[in-house]
Symmetry: D2
Subunit: 341 residues, 4 copies
């Protein structure tokens, strides 16, 4: 059996999770290289993951002929240039979301990707690879719900991160709540409906931390989307979920409705105590999407070996970013915004 040699860039919280998967949980691949400006992270990669080679300069890693594929888990602002460089060097590329922050730069990057059709490119919309989302997609495609008329998707981060977010909010450059949190939900809307978003209205409210108003950030926001075929979309995003990490998606069709994680059940345990009957919940995205992260990476490696492009494309990244920006524009301008197709 062939093994794909992979180099990862970015060893922050998310990058470390990916690196561990590449080292231990994905068949047919070897985590050969790791790149980070932080030397202690590189030492960790060698010691804990058995990485062969480390780089402080990304240009060195992409130039290494031993490496066949690049796994990008660096800060969002670097994604576009790192994708382009890796593509130019003939590497397969997996990039975490978002593909980029600036529409022009994303389009330029898509052009580079398009110019290298033999190389695999995949974007990290991992929710599509979660077993529950896969099961739901299967039911939709089998026609079990009839024609979809409405999709509602929530992404609400646990409260425990909120205080720290507020502290650094002015400096975070998160792109705003919709770009930061809803981008996965927007991708799901497009994936389930096979439609593009035409018009959006976004609103929000800061109640626990009204000071967020001053820095243009939101605790909780909502957006309503009208898709090209009039299918309706509803997004709720937030940073203040007391019960953990609430990612939920609802599909309404002419033949039935379906909900994914209407309760974000941690496991199959129900506790009955003085609080009532309690379902413990997933507490964060690494817990909730642990298996989805593994599945998407297995798919990336499978696609490389099978010489087959994955179903998540660069264009998916472009469209989701467009809609997220439209939501932010709508929220700031207090007006309906049409999304340019």
């Amino acid at each position: 059996m062939t093994t794909v040699k992979i180099g990862i860039v970015g060893l922050g919280r998310l990058g470390q999770g990916h690196a561990k998967n590449l080292a231990f949980n994905i068949p047919n691949c070897e985590l050969y290289g790791a790149c980070s400006p932080v030397v202690s992270e590189l030492e960790w990669a060698q010691r804990a993951l058995g990485v062969t080679k480390t780089y402080t300069d990304y240009a060195d890693m992409v130039a290494d002929p031993k490496i066949e594929a690049i796994f990008i888990a660096s800060p969002s602002g670097f994604h576009c240039q790192q994708i382009k460089l890796a593509m130019t060097y003939g590497k397969h590329v997996f990039s975490e979301k978002p593909i980029g922050l600036d529409l022009a730069e994303i389009e330029e990057t898509l052009a580079v990707i398009a110019a290298h059709p033999q190389q695999i490119f995949m974007l990290g919309f991992m929710r599509r690879y979660d077993e529950s989302y896969q099961y739901a997609k299967g039911l939709v495609e089998a026609g079990e719900l009839g024609e979809l008329t409405l999709i509602r998707s929530y992404g609400i981060d646990p409260s425990e991160g909120l205080e720290s977010f507020v502290k650094f909010a002015g400096a975070s450059n998160s792109g705003g709540l919709f770009a930061d949190m809803s981008i996965h939900d927007i991708d799901l809307v497009r994936w389930f409906t096979n439609q593009e978003v035409a018009t959006v209205w976004a609103i929000g409210k800061n109640a626990a931390y009204p000071e967020l108003d001053g820095v243009g950030e939101l605790e909780t926001g909502a957006a309503m989307l009208q898709l090209t075929d009039k299918t309706m979309g509803i997004l709720v995003a937030g940073r203040n979920c007391q019960h953990g990490y609430h990612v939920e998606t609802e599909l309404i069709g002419t033949k039935g409705m379906l909900r994914i994680a209407q309760i974000p059940e941690k496991n199959l345990v129900t506790v009955m105590n003085q609080d009532g009957v309690v379902r413990p919940c997933s507490q964060n995205f690494p817990e909730r999407f642990k298996q989805a992260f593994i599945n998407e990476t297995k798919e990336f490696v499978r696609c490389i070996l099978a010489k087959e492009q994955p179903k998540v494309t660069g264009n998916d990244g472009l469209q989701a970013t467009k809609v997220a920006i439209a939501c932010q524009t709508s929220y700031e301008g207090q007006t309906l915004v049409k999304v340019e197709l």
Copy 2:
């Protein structure tokens, strides 16, 4: 113990339910009179409910000095004039929702009500008297959810009525999906938040019966509301619920979330069979709100005896109608609509 003598007008499906409650399930009241243009309905009221007196002319019933209170369950177009007449004759009045269809006429009616402050007036927003909604309201007022930031409310009618609705859609004069279905949800938004609706955007899609496009009706619609303090509201209304009658309300606050009937459970039974694990569901509003209809009528009688105005006022009817009309206007005009306060 005193007994309140009541006369009911309107003995259609909803009226018959009210009449049975008044006759059998409400202490301290007597269903003395019944008014309907349909003679067979009056005969039924005498035979099955033991009503003492029947009237084919509403003017005769309100003029009857034996009757202390009028219960209005006639078609919506008659509500305003019947309320005004009853008020003028010194009667207490319970009116089914909506209080009226035309804003000017509603305001005129409110003026008449205001001119008779000794007489009880109550509007039939029965959901407020459902035990689950009462329990939720109690938690909100006790601060269990912190400050509310978002409220989502669904009202989706069972599919079994859809075909017939489509057949008569052109002639139904329902006022549109939002006036017809969402008015209860709008009342809940106002009740839970103690805020008014400032701006709305409403959209919709006809998929099972595209011919509804031609008559300005909707199978499924959604509206997003911005309230005066920026609290967010999301409404979904529909006429095509396969699993029964789906009325659900969600509250998101800074300290927690709460859902009323996220599954519209029929009772406490769970069936496990070849379909999986199944919760049977409420099939229609008389089933789901059976006890709420009784509770609101008990409250009406209690208020009469205690000489105390109920918490559901005529103004609640006016404001909910304003918002429903704004949603319809927004849907038709494909634009944001500000609600005049």
Copy 3:
């Protein structure tokens, strides 16, 4: 419409609930008389319920020719003699469970009942009249579960009463956990299966209050039952439920399974907070079976007016008591016990 004049005996906690229902919630009946040795309870009945006549001596009430039916909610030790006396005086009788504590006395009482076939006799196995149990029974009779092979039924009282129970345990003469708590579950086993119990084994454990061992009482007990056709029965009874009042019944059949109240949901509300996703629970039997108590009394009155014997018979009381006694015997003797049919 005819009205049945009823006299109630026993105005303790359960009796008061029945008295309120008879006074306010049951059509076609009048709570005419009330009997209690406690004068303040009689005063309450006059003042709050509008009872016409009160008695401190039961013999006076049953002799009153105005009274057509007797409602027995006195302590269990009085049931048999009160039933017999009322029957002898030509009254219809509703008796709370258990029909009696001593098998010979119960059989004697059944003979008296049998000697007055024109008078209605009904026993208070109210769970049969709960809407969820009714719904389940309907599915069983429609064959939805196939042939039943196993039934499991739990009755666990809320913890809040346990400390007080322990304090008075030696003096309580409860008849033991199985007679006190499982008798309803035993009735359900017989009702759902249409079979009698042939053999039982009962065990128990005191952990929170080991001192209960000394007085022959149990915190938590379990019994396994083999029915005449080999259908299996499992009972769990207890006095230490932290989440409220847990009454649950499971049916396993050849075509499916069914559970009634696998979560004793208080209402349709789900709360999501720092504890996780929480379903609030019913806290006690008056809450859980509020409507069942009304339904059984409506049925009693309906049967009187329709001259029709109810489906809950005196024999149901006899058989359930037999099985409860067999469980207690088994627990004490640490052995299998055959129930005499």
Copy 4:
């Protein structure tokens, strides 16, 4: 990093699952060898799993010095002798449950294991490694439920296998329902309570296939267990679950109750359609315990590398088998059976 070379014996349905895990999903191990009398299975292991060496004779595999650990997934009747041989050859051993069918032979095997304390021995009670069971065990050990008083555990196989089971029932030599199905539940009872089983009573009923009576097999059975400290145990086992694979465990303690998989949810999806609100269910043990199988094997490899004995011991296998045999004896003899400690 070190890699453990493993040889597997038995490539039936369960063995193939283990072999795939060893080949692809377990870090730090290599599936080096495979043994089966079926040549096509060995060819599959070479082709699909990349196994280096295959054996038709188990004696050859255990003698191979390259192999450090043996993974036994052969028919139950071979377990004891294969464990003993592998131990004698100095190998670490993982054996599927049951450890054996005959108590004397199991005790002899335990003696051999005890004579090789440097070699790891682990038994395949995989449920202990399921995340939900692990989470529950953690809560119990943290005292969240107080002292346990009752544990109920169900193991019911999907109906789809029943017809074929009935066909071959006479020849299957399953050891009976309790040895075949309840052995995992018995292990859970011992694991959660840290107690042994003292006395059992087991009953059963054949309703869908009464012909099973003739061959001493059961569709559905139940057993009640009294543990040494009076903790109660309830087991239900069956072969006729219409909704899939129902494995459920309930713990009742003085401070709370807990249920693992009271609904055997397949994933996080809820479907709402004409059947009601439906949770799709796990359909079989490979689906339900997919991750648990991986986790137990990871633990086996970790124990080898860490030179640490796993918490599942040979004695766990012996005790569970004793109790299963006692249940079968009780069922056949229609009597209480004491388990020899």
